[in-house]
């Protein structure tokens, strides 16, 4: 039995520094938002999928995660292999990572706190049912009862069945009832469900693109497409790096930067750690935006011309400890080595795109025929990231001009005079009259060499 009690109450050389469960539960649930807590549970399902089908580009077709929530309760269920009994007994419910824990390669679960934190956050009664290839079992916890006893930290396993199961039968079901009143209120708000749907769509886009189906209250979530515009002289940057940061595995980084549709809400950097989206549409100092400038003009994030910027950074490692995420996976760990290496690279790859967008913005006041970048951008087509070839910087190569450069001339004259001249020059329309008048004047006044 795991115990956290003062060693000897009669020993006058010791002071009691052991935590109470109530304190523990309060402190670990304090700094996490409800939607982040649910994301943590989805992360656990995805780690199950990764154990079941290893590799960063595995095929997850047929694997499902379904989430149901309302004012009465919360259920998340998957068919991703189940929690192995041994892991459940020794590690999955332990607070923090125990020594000897064999990490899931390429995992998104990292700190050993996500599931417990999420369950404590939501309600007073939770159960975890797992069917894995060799066993099935259930763990049910009544939190107030458990928290009353500060000496025993164990959870009880019930309904343990020791028999083989086919892979298709495996999976995990987590249910929370007796919801915290504030949580129940939040779960009954349509706005929360909509936001959660959006967040899952962004954060879990990588596993969903690999085939994992996620549904929320019965509705499937469709992953977003990652695309950058290419063609008509415009070509996005794509760089790869491999860093040895002293971990068990190297850190591999893929950076894509270029332009997409104009949308302020979607412009910026998207940063993924082992497929989990950590930053969405970021235009803050974290991704170097405060340090970009062009010809003395700073780049405040609200400048409309950058609404076309898109950047995607994928950081992957089988050793998830070296990835630069914070414990809630909602931001980057700014002190980490991986982040320090990343930031300069982001600035470097962003600058040429910013230069392009500034030049594009400067075309606004030009004549239509002189809007070279605008026209090139209109012709460029969205291309999926997987189809882009390596290129150290974003480039724009102007298309060769066909024929000599053209000038536009426009003027106004009394209509009666224009009509008479139109007749004299056999012109069909006013623009035709202008062209014919110019040609007439040119032929009579200009001598060719």
């Amino acid at each position: 039995m795991a115990q956290l009690v003062p060693t000897d109450e009669g020993d006058l050389t010791k002071v009691d520094a052991s935590p109470t469960k109530a304190f523990f539960v309060e402190i670990i649930t304090k700094d996490i938002q409800l939607d982040e807590a649910i994301q943590d549970l989805v992360d656990n399902c995805i780690d199950g999928a990764k154990r079941l089908r290893p590799g960063s580009d595995a095929n997850y077709n047929g694997l499902r995660v379904s989430i149901e929530l309302n004012a009465q309760g919360f259920v998340i269920e998957d068919n991703c292999g189940g929690i192995p009994l041994d892991i459940a007994r020794k590690y999955a419910f332990k607070f923090g990572r125990a020594k000897g824990f064999k990490r899931t390669s390429h995992s998104v679960g990292q700190f050993g706190v996500g599931m417990k934190r999420a369950l404590f956050k939501m309600g007073d009664l939770f159960s975890v049912s797992s069917t894995e290839p060799e066993h099935s079992f259930r763990i049910e916890v009544d939190v107030p009862t458990w928290a009353n006893d500060d000496t025993n930290w164990d959870f009880d396993i019930t309904e343990l069945v020791d028999r083989p199961y086919a892979v298709e039968q495996t999976g995990t079901r987590i249910q929370v009832s007796n919801l915290d009143p504030a949580v129940a209120t939040t779960f009954s708000q349509a706005g929360f469900v909509t936001k959660l749907r959006h967040d899952i769509r962004v954060v879990q886009q990588h596993p969903m693109r690999l085939g994992l189906q996620i549904s929320l209250n019965g509705q499937a979530i469709i992953p977003t497409e990652w695309q950058l515009k290419e063609g008509a002289g415009i070509a996005p940057a794509f760089r790869q790096f491999e860093d040895d940061l002293g971990g068990d595995s190297p850190l591999s980084t893929r950076l894509y930067a270029g332009v997409g549709e104009s949308s302020r809400a979607h412009a910026g950097w998207y940063v993924f750690c082992n497929g989990r989206c950590i930053l969405e549409a970021d235009q803050e100092a974290t991704t170097g935006w405060s340090e970009l400038s062009d010809d003395g003009v700073g780049v405040p994030k609200y400048h409309g011309q950058f609404a076309r910027f898109r950047g995607y950074a994928f950081l992957d490692s089988d050793d998830s400890r070296i990835l630069p995420w914070n414990t809630t996976k909602t931001g980057l760990d700014l002190e980490s080595d991986a982040y320090r290496r990343l930031r300069g690279r982001l600035i470097e790859i962003t600058r040429p795109v910013i230069d392009f967008l500034n030049n594009l913005d400067a075309e606004k006041d030009l004549e239509e025929t002189d809007k070279i970048l605008t026209h090139a951008l209109a012709k460029a087509a969205p291309v999926a990231l997987e189809r882009l070839v390596a290129r150290p910087v974003f480039v724009y190569t102007p298309q060769p001009r066909r024929g000599p450069p053209l000038a536009r001339i426009s003027f106004q004259k009394p209509k009666a005079e224009a009509d008479r001249l139109k007749e004299a020059l056999s012109a069909q329309s006013n623009p035709d009259l202008g062209a014919k008048a110019f040609e007439y004047a040119y032929a009579n006044l200009i001598e060719e060499d």
Binding site: S290, D295, E348
Partner: protein, 284 residues
């Protein structure tokens, strides 16, 4: 950068000439690898003067010039003026060209801007720093003039605060940039940004011998025509090459401050007298 050649007559730039000679003296002291095996990266302009000097004095054949022009006619002009087969011209803004260069080769990089200090200058320097091989030199030249009219002063101060928010407090006064203080701000700020770029690029490097650092080796102030100019130069060096750095004995250079306890933090302000300009100029 683009267009400098239209503004300044290169035949009438004695201080610039002296500066080039001093940099070549500095390059000759570098003991990290035979200097002729280095590549030289600069903003050549139409005359390629520094390229010619580097080639003739140091025997460097691998030369790279960055020209920020897209105009086909100007490109042709640059191409025609190219004096060497080993000189490659890269057309485009330095921000787009520098990341494409191969800095795995030891390099002498001179980012010789004719504009004022800007974040763009600092970002170019950081790009070089991130990629530079140990034993490389990187120098930056910029105009260190702070305006004198009240309106212009406020505008320029606002610009600098926008571009260097980590280095300037909100209550910084325009008087902090008068006279030599403008150059000193550029020296210390660029040095700090370069150092951060280099240290961050090597963050987590398990082999301590390969961790790089930055040592300032020169700091010139001079007038190019009427413009007050500043050049700061650094050597980027890893722990394994520290002996070679000592062997280079940069403090022996007359324009290097040798008395300092921590010479890397020291700088030398060079004001060239007419006689000095003449005597330096007569050496080639």
């Amino acid at each position: 950068m683009a267009g400098t050649f239209k503004k300044i007559d290169y035949r009438l730039r004695p201080a610039k000439h002296a500066e080039r000679i001093m940099l070549i003296d500095l390059f000759k002291r570098m003991r990290f690898a035979p200097i002729e095996t280095y590549q030289y990266v600069g903003f050549g302009s139409v005359a390629f003067i520094d390229f010619r000097m580097v080639h003739k004095s140091l025997g460097i054949k691998d030369l790279i010039s960055i020209e920020a022009t897209d105009d086909p006619e100007e490109r042709t002009r640059f191409e025609r003026n190219n004096p060497y087969a080993g000189l490659t011209l890269h057309f485009g803004h330095s921000s787009a060209v520098l990341p494409t260069l191969n800095f795995r080769k030891r390099s002498l990089v001179w980012l010789d801007y004719d504009g004022t200090l800007s974040r763009s200058v600092a970002n170019d320097l950081a790009t070089v720093g991130r990629h530079a091989h140990s034993g490389s030199f990187v120098g930056v030249t910029f105009t260190a003039a702070f305006p004198t009219s009240a309106k212009e002063r406020d505008k320029e101060l606002g610009r600098l605060k926008d571009e260097f928010p980590d280095f300037l407090a909100e209550d910084t006064k325009a008087s902090s940039f008068d006279g030599p203080k403008c150059a000193e701000f550029g020296r210390s700020t660029l040095g700090a940004i370069l150092e951060k770029a280099v240290l961050d690029a090597d963050a987590g490097e398990p082999n301590l011998a390969l961790k790089r650092n930055v040592r300032q080796v020169c700091f010139f102030r001079y007038k190019d025509g009427t413009l007050p100019m500043v050049t700061v130069g650094w050597i980027i060096i890893n722990n394994a090459d520290m002996d070679a750095f000592e062997a280079s004995h940069f403090p022996a250079l007359p324009f290097f401050e040798t008395k300092a306890r921590h010479f890397v933090l020291q700088f030398h302000w060079l004001h060239l007298s007419r006689f000095e300009k003449w005597s330096l100029g007569s050496r080639i």
